[in-house]
Subunit: 226 residues, 2 copies
Amino acid sequence: MPTTARDRLVAAAFELFEGQGYDATTVEEIASRAGTGRSTFFRHFRGKEDVVLPDHEALLGRVADRLATAGAGGREVALREAAGIVLAHYLAEGATARARYRLASTVPAIRDREIASVQRYVRLFSQHIHTWLDAEPDGPLRAELVASSVVIAHNHVLRRWLRGETDAPEALLDQSLAVALPLLRGPAAPAPTIVITDGSADVEQVVAQVRDALGKNGARAGLGPA
Amino acid sequence: MPTTARDRLVAAAFELFEGQGYDATTVEEIASRAGTGRSTFFRHFRGKEDVVLPDHEALLGRVADRLATAGAGGREVALREAAGIVLAHYLAEGATARARYRLASTVPAIRDREIASVQRYVRLFSQHIHTWLDAEPDGPLRAELVASSVVIAHNHVLRRWLRGETDAPEALLDQSLAVALPLLRGPAAPAPTIVITDGSADVEQVVAQVRDALGKNGARAGLGPA
DNA sequence: TCGACGGTTGGTACTCAGTATCGTAACTAT
DNA sequence: ATAGTTACGATACTGAGTACCAACCGTCGA
């Protein structure tokens, strides 16, 4: 089993960071424990923080691929599956993901770095959703809200899994996205509007009231979301 | 008017960053141009990035105060006003805010730092909203969605103002929050549900269909959001 | 007027992350 | 076998950030 230098560096970094703290650990120590030179460390990782972070490039690429193949009908499915790809990646990491979570919880430098990484996913989602919604009312704003909501739903589930609060993260992601996604479908309805009349009411009056209640926003008529 | 060393350092930093780039500017240059020593720079700012960033501590404090005084009835008002406080701060900064925006757009280090700062506002909002919603269905998730949505709405407006795309940012913030906030009021309604019957329909059948359409989520009956 | 004192400053020295460069060993293809 | 490629180690350098110390400047009380 020829462990690569890269793998040994990652392992050494996790051990030292957890053992003696992030700030108290120098890159030279990590390299030394991995049995390699300091140069090699910086050849594999851009900086001290990146050692313990996932390979976001590859993951972002896969997410981008999934989002790019979203026809007009399957946009919501694309978002759900894209979020699922990311979640599956972390689930597969298992103990590594949990160790990183512990580090990010205590080391500000790593936490900030991770926040910046999360923002890259938001940007990626946002770019695609913008092309879907920009022409609609409040489209640009809604695009940003939806993009961030997808990522928040994902992180909500991931965090609960990292803390051992759920055994079925995939199902929980589905439920969470159901809460987060309605803004994608149309301008938000502050509350469901139900009109019930028995025929004795003046039709025009009801229509006027409905129009007032709905304001300028268009709305779908019919019996619910089908 | 005796400009303080701190003010001179900030001015010098903006000038040098915009003139010759962030990376090409050393702290020693900034200090030198401000007519002060390098030590003094680090006495006033934690690092090279912080020179051009706003004083978030004070602003976070004011936002926290506003959120803390939110009765059960005025929660939405509290969120709107809290967002308004932040927006007003940036508007008052004027040219400085625009210069920072240019820098954050081009310098990754500053951009990441600012993202981390934004997250502090999200956290602050989130903490308060959690105490409001945690007991409701999907409360914890909705709290995080709402917190982030408020900040996104704010940033959406701020960015448009920074780019000179709006003359009435305060009004735009109101509109944007109207789009972003419905999730605060209750579990999301995927789409407005409208039932119209002329009395000839079987009432029980309609009721059954309504119940199906609404699923498990409760919903308010009545004529719109009044 | 004098001296003690707290706060701000400038200077020096140090650690360490990150960059650049060079020589070398191992592997590959022709 | 040779030329090209890739990964590695070593060295030297820049610059951010920290620690420490000495000088200066105001104020207050004696």
